[in-house]
């Protein structure tokens, strides 16, 4: 009786510690939301830890007074295209890396691993010129292409992990039944790797959605800005209204968060498997 009683106290203690820490970790999220719906002026002291009222006024104002609707659409275009391009390209590449062991695949393995560790700060200096020469500068399409290249190595690696788990006998059987190898892949393997596909679609969407550094460098005109660039531009203003800023932040965060929660389980599994198994 005694040791189990002691054990219960210990678990209760750690449980409370965990809850308190979870609250601290969650606080910035909480504060973003509270600041966006607070009725009293942001410029009051002390701040209300629990909002003194609830209003969506900041949300209406930010849409009315700023180009945020346009930036939202731009961001959807960039993130959607990034997701589409990366998924299509990664599917084929990951399949090749998973099923073939040739000179070509080993060269590409090195290329993909190597390109993952290059510093973006050095890349963007010449890329700025290359994009101007190719007519991709200041274009949402160009930005999506760049975002795709940056996320591809991760997307391919993740998807390859999913393909590796599908036994090769399944497609060999389909080929005996008359499929070509690609036919067997698209009709038999791909449907089995659906969770992996969903992860790659969502992950590349999120990375295109969140991206700031390339957008800051490769997009010039305000009309073509995406949310990440538009939002940070408010900061320099003298009469910055933080409650509107936080409203914009909430709007920007929600789509990324939904996609994230949707694939969280697979993403976590894929990531940890990759990291632990190397």
């Amino acid at each position: 009786m005694n040791p189990s009683y002691k054990e219960k106290i210990v678990s209760a203690f750690w449980f409370i510690v965990t809850l308190v820490l979870a609250a601290i970790v969650f606080f910035p999220y909480y504060w973003m939301f509270v600041s966006s719906v607070e009725t009293e002026s942001m410029f009051s002291w002390p701040p209300h830890l629990v909002p003194s009222g609830f209003t969506l006024e900041s949300y209406w104002t930010i849409f009315e007074e700023r180009a945020i609707g346009r930036w939202f659409i731009n961001t959807v275009i960039v993130a959607g295209s990034t997701s589409l391009f990366s998924t299509i390209i990664a599917i084929n590449a990951a399949y090749a890396l998973s099923r073939f062991k040739t000179k070509t695949t080993s060269v590409f393995t090195v290329l993909i691993l190597f390109s993952q560790l290059l510093p973006a700060a050095l890349i963007v200096v010449p890329l700025f010129v290359i994009f101007q020469q190719l007519g991709l500068y200041n274009s949402l399409f160009g930005l999506a292409i760049a975002d795709t290249a940056f996320i591809l190595p991760v997307a391919i690696w993740l998807l390859k992990g999913f393909f590796d788990q599908i036994p090769v006998e399944i497609e060999q059987q389909a080929m005996i039944d008359g499929c070509t190898q690609l036919g067997a892949f698209y009709r038999v393997v791909l449907p089995l790797a659906l969770p992996g596909l969903v992860v790659v679609v969502a992950m590349s969407f999120i990375s295109g959605w969140d991206e700031f550094f390339l957008a800051r460098t490769l997009i010039a005109s305000q009309d073509n800005w995406v949310l990440s660039v538009g939002l940070t531009s408010f900061r320099g203003e003298y009469t910055l209204d933080w409650s509107q800023m936080m409203a914009a932040a909430v709007i920007f965060t929600i789509p990324a968060l939904i996609f994230f929660l949707f694939v969280q389980r697979y993403l976590v599994a894929g990531l940890s498997a990759g990291a632990v198994k190397g």
Partner: protein, 295 residues
């Protein structure tokens, strides 16, 4: 092993072709151009119009106090942010490795910082750290941690700690998940055997948990270090390297030198130095990964 296949050897090339084109166009070719630019004196972004000056940029670099400052900032930021991120990751992983009700929900809450767009994380922290109306100044003064509200982001000795705090908050979930996966690979019997031998919780942690995490730790810490050297969005959006260059890592120095001061060749030299440092750590990283696999 997977049976390697029939038919033409050209199929993999077709499947991988688009990846090759994109990675070379967007990543590899710019890097090569960047290295080439570092040997030129140019303010224009095409090195054909600049003047070849050999290693002069690098000579100037090693006598430039801003470069040495940046190197110090990179090292300080790297060590501090990796330590903080790892410590939080390990602590939370150990907490989550226990059985308790609602573990899934709590785990999701702990992962949430990682799901937020980096610029949003920056904006929230800038608002929370506001010198006049920031909630953290209020909480810290109420708790007696500081005697008066501090201007976190406009003082050079406070900006870097603030940046480290933001980094650790946003990045610890990655560390936590990787450590958690590592913890779950340690066989239960090892803990049971240690308990039978009379080991307490601390002793079990030192003699079972830490050795069990060895290979995961090495890889994780190197990965976090590489990320800290390459990080641009968070630092640029939060401080642009300021105030007084106190958060100007090599990545940010490269970007500022190119796009603020238009000294392209010189910026390329800074970036190339960063690249060399990264390559060194990457070689160690791949070597460690390989060791981890073979073990």
């Amino acid at each position: 092993m997977l049976s390697t296949i029939k038919r033409s050897n050209l199929l993999p090339l077709w499947l991988l072709g688009p990846v090759g084109v994109l990675l070379i166009l967007i990543l590899i070719w710019p890097i090569l151009q960047g290295i080439a630019l570092s040997f030129y004196n140019t303010r224009i972004l095409t090195y054909s119009e600049g003047r070849f000056i050999g290693l002069a940029n690098f000579n100037a670099l090693f006598q430039d106090e801003y470069f040495w400052n940046s190197l110090r900032v990179t090292a300080t930021y790297g060590i501090a942010s990796v330590t903080a991120t790892y410590a939080l990751g390990l602590g939370f992983a150990l907490l989550l490795n226990r059985e308790f009700a609602g573990r899934g929900v709590i785990r999701t809450i702990f992962i949430l910082p990682w799901a937020i767009p980096e610029v949003v994380a920056v904006l929230i922290f800038v608002w929370m750290l506001d010198p006049q109306f920031g909630v953290l100044n209020y909480l810290f003064t109420s708790l007696g941690l500081i005697s008066e509200p501090l201007p976190w982001l406009s003082q050079s000795h406070l900006a870097l700690p603030a940046l480290v705090a933001l980094t650790a908050w946003q990045q610890f979930p990655l560390a936590m998940l990787i450590i958690l996966a590592g913890l779950q690979m340690i066989p239960r019997e090892q803990y049971e055997a240690a308990t039978i031998d009379g080991a307490g919780p601390v002793s079990r942690f030192i003699h079972v948990t830490l050795p069990g995490l060895r290979s995961v730790n090495i890889i994780l810490i190197l990965l976090l270090t590489l990320n800290s050297f390459r990080r641009v969005t968070m630092i640029y959006a939060m401080t642009r390297g300021g105030p007084a260059r106190s958060t100007e890592t090599l990545s940010i120095l490269t970007y500022n030198t190119a796009f603020e001061y238009q000294r392209i060749g010189y910026a390329a030299a800074v970036g190339t130095t960063l690249l060399i440092i990264l390559l060194f750590f990457s070689v160690v990283y791949f070597w460690a990964t390989k060791q981890g696999k073979d073990a």
